[in-house]
Amino acid sequence: MSASTVLGIERELAELRDAASAPGQAPNQRTSVMTHLAWVPEKWEDAAEKTLAGLAEQHPSRTILLFPRPDDDDELDMDASVQCFAFGDRAVCAEVIRVRLCGARSRHPASVVVPLLIADLPVFVRWRGMPAFDEVFDEIVDVVDRLIVDSTEWPDGKLEHGYRELAQRFDRTVISDIAWERTERWRRELAGAWPFDAREISVTATRAQALLIAGWLRSRLGHSVAVEHEPADVVMSVYVDGKAIEAPPGEPPPPSELLSDQLERFTRDPVYEAAVRAAAD
């Protein structure tokens, strides 16, 4: 079942919630702790759905997946589903709304999103891939409480530009980067290994992570830090002035856990913001 209006989708959700309750039983509980938006260009659809599967049970919320299709004919197409999780003798239900923004409709997403937000609860957006940092992006930035990106998803050659653009928006909304979060275990080890001079570092990781670690050291230590980068999918090693930093214990957390962690934080992180500014230098 799909709808092309916000009213239609609200009606559909109410029907789905009713249908999910067993006849004669207590009605299922609709539970929300936030509105979770995801901006999902075509190439990121599979990854977004996988993360959502790991996330929905942990953070019952209204999730709105926005699929921009600027090259299609003008159309707004929405469908809704209700995900219920057993809880004692009842079920707790969260809502997922998939919105396909086709043609010109993709240029003003806020006008679709705003009427679907749950009042009085925080709004998070996970922006998949590299934002264009255009009016469309800024429309969304202005309606959310927190923007979450993963700069590992950005092209290596555009990272510095992307960080400069992000830095310009730090005063408009709270921003965080999953690539930065993935470096936390290593930053903890680096903090444990301090004092050191750190005039040059060598990082085997994604380029985004190498730049962010270097930016962090520059901003914290207050001097320039040259960075040498070896590509890898995750942070494999960090050398400071030629000396290896001990690898952190345990396994890195999965993507849904990283995002889940972000959704529990509400305030600006000045250390991250300084690292991003320094990473763009």
Partner: protein, 505 residues
């Protein structure tokens, strides 16, 4: 060095979330062969290990009378974790924990045994670099604690810190609690003593503090002007589960009322603390306990269960349980009306009841508000409408519900009660940690907010002693309630005399 001082010196620490990870230490469990160790302590330690919350350098030494090798102890603990832990069993997590787990046979009254244990601890310290830091967990009867504390003090080295975790019951009356406090205080400071009341480790009990003090709407009406009365229920459907020797000595008043129940009263009635530090919170709780009284013997009812049915199955009466005296006068149920004599609560009754073999397992704090002063509706339209009740469900179905009156859809004006529920696990689906996980971790961190202080324990015993003294003057006809019901008629009478009734009766 404090975290803040360290952060000031190390520029890289700022912004990193400093995990609540304790310093290296050895956890010594006295009573390692007991039920508590198997059902609660070891599963809690496993869950902490799974979440990487234990210290990086950590070891466990179990001590008990029975002869057992390290390997046998590990095997028994492994089975306990597999049976009772809330998390799936993972070999890698278990191996990490078990590799630093040891056992020491110890007769609590034997000084040579204490020497052997001390020697073992020194070896464990060396093997795991635990720096002489020790957490001693006394999962033993109160009578054994004094001697153990003295033996530990005698062998205390200059190196490292010591923390003592003492299980309830802390004494069996005011005199014995004071004696135990004095014996401990001869050797250890209050900051080294962690008296466990595991109810305080429950998420929903802590949520009561969040509900009251993190929301602006409740505190203004949380007083005698708006609240008619408070009902606190700690009900268990199970019997004494083979613990006859313990229960015959304690009864419901010492087992539940003296500790869990009075803590729930204190948390419900306390004034807002200025912060969430141990002393601020405990100062406010102790003020409530000091102000508590029962208005006389008729305001306390006691009961003992007889044969009956629980969930359709016939169960024996208390006196028929194995190990129980057939003429036992031990109470398995207590109900009481309490008053908190202060500005906020004067004349507002706190009705409390707790017992075994009741109709269902339930721990709730119900705040019943006064009725609307002048409902403008016809009498028939509000027939059966009850006043607003805010219920904190401590267990099971952890959460909060508010009963409100709402119009029944359709022509006319009929108003009925409806419940708005917040299910704790429905909104935060991370799995509630067991109380012992939080409490063991807090003790390792030296954080005492969720542990009871000397004066709290003594105030609790003062009230219990007064109740028990009155009981000596009469001999009720036990058993006086059937298993699977809500307790004796005298409990209903107690509240009915005030024109009120127990919830769900």
């Amino acid at each position: 060095m404090t975290a803040t001082a360290e952060q000031q010196q190390n520029p890289l620490l700022q912004g990193l979330r400093l995990r609540r990870k304790p310093e290296p230490c050895v956890l010594v469990i006295f009573g390692a062969s007991g039920d508590l160790t198997m059902r609660k302590l070891m599963p809690a330690l496993y869950s902490l290990a799974m979440r990487r919350l234990l210290p990086d350098r950590f070891a466990i030494v179990g001590a008990a009378r029975s002869d057992e090798s390290d390997d046998e102890f590990r095997e028994r603990m492994k089975e306990a974790v597999q049976k009772y832990a809330r998390d799936e069993f993972r070999d890698d997590v278990w191996e990490g924990l078990a590799s630093a787990m040891y056992y020491s046979t110890l007769d609590f009254s034997d000084a040579a045994g204490e020497d052997r244990l001390a020697q073992r601890l020194t070896e464990v310290d060396r093997a795991h670099s635990t720096e002489g830091n020790r957490v001693y967990y006394f999962a033993v009867p109160p009578s054994a604690i004094g001697t153990l504390v003295e033996e530990i003090a005698k062998r205390r080295s200059a190196e490292g810190w010591i923390r003592l975790i003492v299980e309830k019951p802390f004494g069996r009356d005011l005199a014995s609690a004071r004696e135990l406090n004095t014996r401990i205080a001869e050797h250890f400071g209050e900051g080294e003593v962690f008296r466990i009341d595991h109810y305080l480790g429950k998420e929903t009990v802590q949520n009561m503090l969040a509900l009251r003090f993190a929301n602006g709407i409740f505190e203004p009406i949380w007083n005698r002007q708006f609240i008619d009365h408070v009902q606190i229920t700690v009900a268990e459907s199970m019997g004494i589960e083979g613990r006859a020797a313990f229960y015959e000595q304690s009864g419901a008043v010492r087992d539940i009322f003296q500790n869990h129940l009075l803590q729930l009263v204190a948390i419900s009635a306390m004034e807002p603390p200025i912060d969430f530090t141990a002393d601020s919170v405990r100062n406010e709780k102790v003020k409530v306990l000091k102000a508590l009284h029962t208005p006389g013997p008729k305001s306390v009812a006691r009961g003992q269960y007889g044969r009956g049915f629980v969930e359709g199955q016939e169960v024996p009466g208390y006196r028929e349980e194995e190990g129980v005296d057939p003429g036992s006068m031990t109470e398995t149920f207590v109900a009481a009306k309490l008053y908190v004599d202060n500005w906020r609560w004067a004349d507002t009754p706190f009705y409390v009841r707790m017992g075994k073999r009741l109709a269902r397992r339930e721990t709730t704090i119900a705040i019943q508000f006064k009725s609307a002063p002048h409902p403008p509706f016809e009498e028939a339209s509000t027939e059966g409408l009850k006043p607003n009740v805010l219920v904190v469900h401590v267990q099971p179905d952890e959460g909060v519900s508010l009963a409100i009156g709402a119009k029944v859809p359709g022509a006319g004006m009929t108003i009925r009660n409806v419940h708005m529920d917040f299910l704790y696990g429905g909104a935060f689906r991370t799995g509630l940690p067991e109380a012992y996980e939080r409490l063991i971790l807090d003790a390792m961190l030296g954080e005492q907010t969720l542990f009871t202080r000397t004066d709290e324990v003594e105030e609790q015993w003062s009230l219990v002693d007064a109740i028990i003294a009155a009981w000596r003057r009469d001999r009720p006809a036990f058993p006086n309630y059937a298993a699977g019901t809500w307790g004796p008629v005298s409990a209903d009478d107690l509240i009915a005399r005030d024109g009120r009734s127990w919830r769900r009766n």
